[in-house]
Symmetry: D2
Subunit: 305 residues, 4 copies
């Protein structure tokens, strides 16, 4: 069985964390449990090696192992997208090839994030890279981590390059997202997906194709339900589910004020639920017992524990 | 007749531009025409001397004249809110007193914006200022211009101070706005209003009380209709009107790439429509003929010209 | 006796704090004591109503009083420069006229700091403003507070406008400063002065004309000595005095981590030394007893107490 | 013959570009010529795989080849420092091991630059990493590219970890640098080196140990002379050489306004001088003929061509 990648990709995609027992060792059993948990929630796709997957913190050996194991485990039940963002063009190509070889359905690319490239430099970069892609390519707008924005005009040009089929926006800037939706009104095969789950409801109600949101690791059904409610134009139900998402955001992801709070809270929740280990690769570290206790309380409030 | 200021203020408020014929001279006839045009569109309130009103660029003499003329012209038909943001505590008090004396219904305050105050300093500032207010006070979150954010925790504390009744958020950060809505779920008398019109649709559908959006200067009916459609839970109509708002944003407000493009485009459109002069106070200047020609075309496309 | 304003202005200028007993009331005796203390240190000029003078936080009435009292007290012994930065063109003109009427020798202007003007807008602003100046005008580059930079190319153009005679750079960006020195190598009548005292030594050794540094309020002799040592090319003495400046910066100005730490520490030190009150206008507040105790210790270490 | 790494490292170190003929192919002859050219200029060390070396843009295979070839070519004539910055802890370790195996004398590390780690997370990262280092470790403060600052308090703590021997500061913030010099006054074995060449003169005159500056690729003697003049306290000669450095900065590095202008100008100059190819790895590209013509003119003005 092989998942097909619809054009446009539409639906709710889970950006899977990478379960670890050490900085270079997977929690293999946890990874399998987690994938089954997520798929049981009804998601329409799986995204591995993104920001939530801590990809930049992992060795290349481990990233390759993650790709192989995830594709084998999913076994075509839903499309698998693989993050291939890298500061080196060559390493990005290698990751894309590994994704294709393992049977993934698409790749996801943020800008090279050490140097500060201008828009014309980014376009030239995409012009060189896109034709080399063995799989459909989603752009990944993530300015807080990459310092760079794929500006709307650039996205419009990039959409005409071979293999470029959509964009995931994690800028949290809905004006930008609405401008993209406006620009692509006539291009019905180009997917526009949102990263921050706090913005999923409005994205779906105002024309976006879907979301790729971290909470799906522990509570996939919530986000799938929100997607379905928006499709059904059930505004009351959208509002109710949206408020649950905001509750998760203001509790589980906000235990500390560090920018690592989201990832640490997410992995801690997965560990509390018995899904996988909460080890984090450098530069982050798992929560201590005090924070874990809080997370447990939040999960109980959500009736997940 | 006197407008009442409902608690919470709910609806669509127009942030009026300040029609000028010179840097220290009002376009008096334009000001009167503009107010009638806006009120004819059915707005629920008028906000003067905000960012769209170029308040910081005007002399204090002119600001006082603007307050008196606007209140007299509106004559209680809708509530009038007056921007009193200033780097000097004393001058802020003076502006609030002028607003009360002229018969305005509320005042709007962004943080003092030269020095970079911390959150506890901002709270102390509000604790000193709020009790002095002769009118209900709306906070104005405007980080791009003030460098400062009224963080959610601070807003929550400020809401317990005397006279503080709501917040206008112009951060364009919907995660922040959703967090505020979440924090104030139990406080039904506190208004949460959005600044950027591109975010009005989602604000209204997900629990916000209204918007204060510049496009209402030339096309008030559009925003009032959007407000009504959202109240009626008519998702299709909300989407259709929202797309018109985005079209305005990507055309009339985007003729140049400067950060002044919004204000210059807005005043130019008002001038094209014969509503008022397009003079801008320093540091900005009106558009030239080439940009004006574009604006005229956009207005024609919108069937406003 | 009237101070002459040399071209270029060369030397060490003290940016005086504004001694207050309340938010709208001067510490008149403190102001007089402070001016005498500073002049006794041998400074070559006095700058009032700058950032260190908390100008944006003061009412216009008080700013006018400050101008009159300072000019009267200095009585031509050194040139007096007056900060006229304002978001309103008209109010800037009023402040410049007040400075001229009181007998000041120059005015100092940062960009209007609410709206984000582009470089060409800033140039047009200066082209309109400069000819209206009744006194020689110094530009004031202060991006941390104004969000705007007077880029080198703009400064080069502005230097050809009437009345523009120099620039104070508080960007703390020495690459910018060196680029300005390079651009003005052939223009010997244009002053380039540095704001942060931590950068005074290198400024003087590498071609800058002088400094306008806050520490001169309590320890004017240190900065004047550093200026003289640099003029004498006494590198060892420059290094020794520079290390004292850094010691002040890392102690008296660094008691807290807020951005207000410099101003609060400075006024606290003046109060400990019996020179003037340490009241600060909103949005800042004076230090408490714990911080005051630390400042006292630092002053004792410096043998000032 | 083996270079010794003095404690503290003191002098002028050249951050070598990586000569390329394609994105994954070295210009081997150019690399050899370039190293000989640099060493002939009298530099005290060579730094490879830094920002100027485009390290993050290169494949790991190529980075390893660069390490081996550079160490073999230098053959112990001066110490070789190797950049090992990576977002992955494991890959950083691999690079450090390769550096040690090839005979390098030290390694240089900026923070992992995708995620935004806090200061305590950075400290924990260094606590885990430093003991694993097979060579002395220099920290590399480079906030414009990494988004993170090694704050002075963190540097002070890190200096007590095994293998940590110094810091290269490319922040261009001299207040930060002076604060570090102040903090390390008593620690005479810790090197403080500056990155931007525009700041080399003041660094050397006010207590810094040296510089690691890109201009040394084409004009090593200039920077070595500046170092010697500062050691000799010859303030006039320092000023004259400093002005030449600023001239290079405002011409060769400033042909365009992109942030890639420095690297493109530098490689173009090397190509004009016949030292190596000017190919740049993605996301950057070599200059075209128009810019090259300008660079040639600048080199002629400097009497290098």
């Amino acid at each position: 069985m092989t998942a097909e990648l619809p054009r446009p990709l539409r639906g709710f995609v889970a950006p899977r964390v990478t379960p670890l027992v050490d900085r270079d060792a997977l929690d293999v059993a946890g990874l399998e449990r987690l994938i089954e948990h997520i798929l049981a929630g009804g998601v329409h796709g799986l995204f591995i090696l993104g920001t939530t997957g801590e990809a930049p913190s992992l060795s290349y050996r481990l990233r390759n192992e993650v790709i192989r194991r995830a594709c084998r485990q999913v076994a075509g039940r839903v499309p698998v997208l693989v993050g291939i963002t890298d500061t080196s063009f060559i390493e990005t190509i290698h990751l894309a090839q590994a994704a294709a070889a393992a049977g993934a359905q698409g790749v996801v690319l943020a800008p090279p994030y050490y140097f500060t490239a201008g828009q014309s430099e980014l376009l030239a970069y995409l012009e060189a890279l896109a034709p080399e892609m063995p799989l459909p390519l989603y752009l990944y707008n993530m300015p807080s981590h990459t310092k760079l924005v794929f500006q709307p005009a650039l996205v419009r040009q990039a959409a005409d390059l071979p293999n470029v089929v959509g964009l995931k926006d994690s800028s949290a800037n809905m004006i930008y997202f609405h401008e993209l939706l406006h620009l692509f009104e006539g291009r019905r095969d180009f997917s526009l997906l949102v990263g921050p789950e706090e913005l999923l409801a409005e994205t779906l109600m105002l024309g976006g194709h879907g979301g790729i949101n971290g909470g799906a690791n522990f509570f996939p059904r919530l986000y799938v339900d929100l997607y379905e409610a928006a499709r059904a134009k059930d505004l009351d139900r959208v509002g109710m589910l949206h408020r649950q998402v905001i509750r998760i955001s203001t509790t589980i992801y906000s235990v500390t004020r560090d920018s690592s709070s989201y990832l640490r809270g997410l992995k801690c929740a997965l560990s509390c639920l018995g899904l996988c280990d909460d080890f984090l690769a450098e530069p982050f570290r798992r929560f201590g017992e005090a924070e874990r206790e809080k997370i447990r309380g939040y999960l109980a409030d959500l009736k997940l524990l």
